[in-house]
Amino acid sequence: MSRLQKIFELKKQNVLNVYFTAGYPALNDTLTIMESLASNGADIIEIGMPYSDPLADGPVIQESSSKALLNGMNMKLLFKQLADCRKNVLLANTGIVLMGYMNPVMQYGFEQFCADAASVGVDGLILPDLPEFEFEHEYGAIIRKYGLNFIFLVTPETSSERIKHLDQLSEGFLYAVSASATTGGATNFEMVEKYLLRLQSMKLKNPLMVGFGIKDKESFDAACKNANGAIIGSAYIKELGKMNDIALTTQQFLKPIIGN
């Protein structure tokens, strides 16, 4: 059983996944942010690998990516920063997922990337622009060879047949995008509820995590009502951008969301 699968085995509800962009706000904030997230209730940490042309992202994550690249972030450095993260007791059982785009991964060397990710203790990958055809014919086998879980996205526009197929290919969890939108948009949770109920009725093999537009307690609770948990991205990046103390910022941001 993978670490991600264990997380959902132990906690079936209100699983919290928080995204941040590596190299933002400052180049070497990576571990501080991860420790703060883990000690304030994040079950899974999604680390964004910054890219010059992040198609699926709205302005907040775009800007954090540009800033991170200006700060000098790259994949080699990120793996160096993550090298000892699993020795940190706070992070020993936290899910760690890398999110990014195909081009930088290809330049790094896809197999080398998977090998290095696995060796620093990464659990899963989200590469939104890796299509399922290429996954099935070329990349999926490499990802599995290194024991990584690959997570596909589904949207309210995705057909039931396709959702079932993407669920079969995914491991760890299935990423339910709340609306057809780029990250950080507003979300209508009445519409999301219908979509999540539809997903639930499909008896999928993976737990469901809802992302896009989750920004506070209200949206987190609404999403968790019909899923195993939710993913927060842009809203947290906005808070980090205020450049206050990271531990304090994270605590103040997450406290009302997890509600204790």
């Binding site: 699926a56 994949m75 081009n103 330049q107 996205l153 949207t155 526009e157 780029t182």
Partner: protein, 397 residues
């Protein structure tokens, strides 16, 4: 190898595909399932051909350039795409896509533009068909290309500045794709070149293939053979080249010459010669050659011509380059400027700066008196007049 048709998954050799986030899957899959059958409908073909004839002004002439031929001691024919309505070949594609969008039931059109030629061509067909039109254009390009911005507005389009990244064509394309993600049902994205996720490269190439379809007939009437020895076209994303090459791709005796923008020089750090400087990568939804850093971050290219100022190239062309089927040359900013003035004075045709690159390689090609060379004169130079005036004011030409 068949150079013309990609595989079912959209691959030309190792290049192509549809590397898109799930949020775009519905729109792209719908297009993929329907574009070929719609393009084969007799009513579609009839409407497309009629508009090309009566609205665009096709067929465009194939003109024997007597003085240029004498100068290079060969036979040079110019395919006059500059005479198309709106001044360039771009409208062949926008006419095709607007008719396709209507058959798909779309009501809202989005497009990206660099110099504004594709934006104007899109705004034009939207006006013609009464469709809402939104054009994304880099903030920097909006400043540089004021007359085309004014044209688009006069045609009823809304021009939205792309303020992300480097604020040029690449970023305008990103913004258009993000708009499409946010409008999954009512919107069709008219991409202006043979780039983007499958089926765009193939679809745009097919709409532009009217160029070589006409060349074959016209050349046969003039020379008794449909086959020239060379076809020369400039390449940014590569839509006019795709159109001019299309019906010659599987004719091995015809040398296909693609001319990229070298900017200040291929190795100057200020260039847009993608096949020389790029590595296999993924940009705007397809795998192709991409100018990028070692870390896989896409770099900002440079060319004096905004239409060639793109860090990628269509997968069809990447395959022509890699397989050796195409000959890839380049011309610098200065060489293109010189060629623009030379063609103007020699043939009485002021070409677009993009097109001028195609003329700039004539002297590098060792052409023989028996050769028959077709140059795709993709656009006219009106839009570049301020650049040409600056050069004249500096006393350069």
């Amino acid at each position: 190898m068949n150079y013309q048709n990609p595989t079912e998954q959209g691959y030309y050799g190792q290049f192509g595909g549809a590397y898109i986030p799930e949020m775009l899957h519905g729109n792209v899959a719908e297009l993929h399932q329907q574009y070929l059958s719609i393009m084969k409908e007799p009513t579609f073909i009839k409407e497309f051909k009629l508009l090309l004839k009566d609205y665009v002004g096709r067929p465009t002439p194939l003109f024997y350039a007597e003085r240029l031929s004498a100068e290079f001691n060969t036979n040079i024919y110019l395919k006059r795409e500059d005479l198309c309505h709106t001044g360039a070949h771009k409208i062949n594609n926008t006419i095709g896509q607007i008719l396709l969008a209507r058959r798909l039931g779309k009501t809202r059109i989005i497009a990206e533009t660099g110099a504004g030629q594709h934006g104007v061509a899109t705004a034009t067909v939207c006006a013609l068909k009464g469709m809402e039109c939104i054009v994304y254009m880099g903030e920097k390009d909006i400043e540089r290309q004021a007359p085309n911005v004014a044209r688009m507005k006069m045609l009823g389009a809304k021009v939205i500045p792309a303020t992300s990244g480097s604020k040029t064509l690449k970023d305008a394309t990103n913004e258009a794709i993000r708009d499409w993600i946010n409008h999954p049902n009512d919107t069709h994205y008219i991409i202006g070149s043979v780039v983007g996720p499958h089926p765009y490269p193939d679809m745009v190439a097919r709409f532009q293939s009217i160029i070589s379809e006409e060349i074959r007939i016209q050349l046969n009437a003039k020379t008794g053979s449909e086959l020239p020895t060379h076809v020369i076209a400039c390449v940014g994303g590569g839509s006019n080249a795709a159109g001019a090459f299309y019906h010659y791709l599987n004719e091995p005796t015809v040398q296909l010459v693609a001319v990229e923008a070298a900017g200040h020089g291929v190795n100057s750090g200020m260039s847009a010669a993608t096949t020389q400087l790029g590595k296999p990568g993924i940009l705007h939804g397809s795998k192709s050659l991409v100018m990028q850093t070692e870390d896989g971050q896409v770099v900002e290219p440079h060319s004096i011509s905004a239409g060639l100022d793109y860090p990628g190239v269509g997968p069809l062309h990447a395959n022509l380059f890699q397989s050796g089927r195409g000959v890839f040359l380049s011309a610098t900013d200065d060489e293109a400027m010189e060629a623009a003035f030379h063609v103007s004075k020699t043939e009485g045709i002021i070409p677009a700066l993009e097109t001028a690159h195609a003329f700039a390689v004539l002297g590098k090609m060792n052409l023989k008196p028996s050769d028959v060379v077709v140059i795709c004169l993709s656009g006219r130079g009106d839009k570049d007049l301020s650049t040409y005036m600056m050069a004249m004011n500096e006393g350069l030409y």
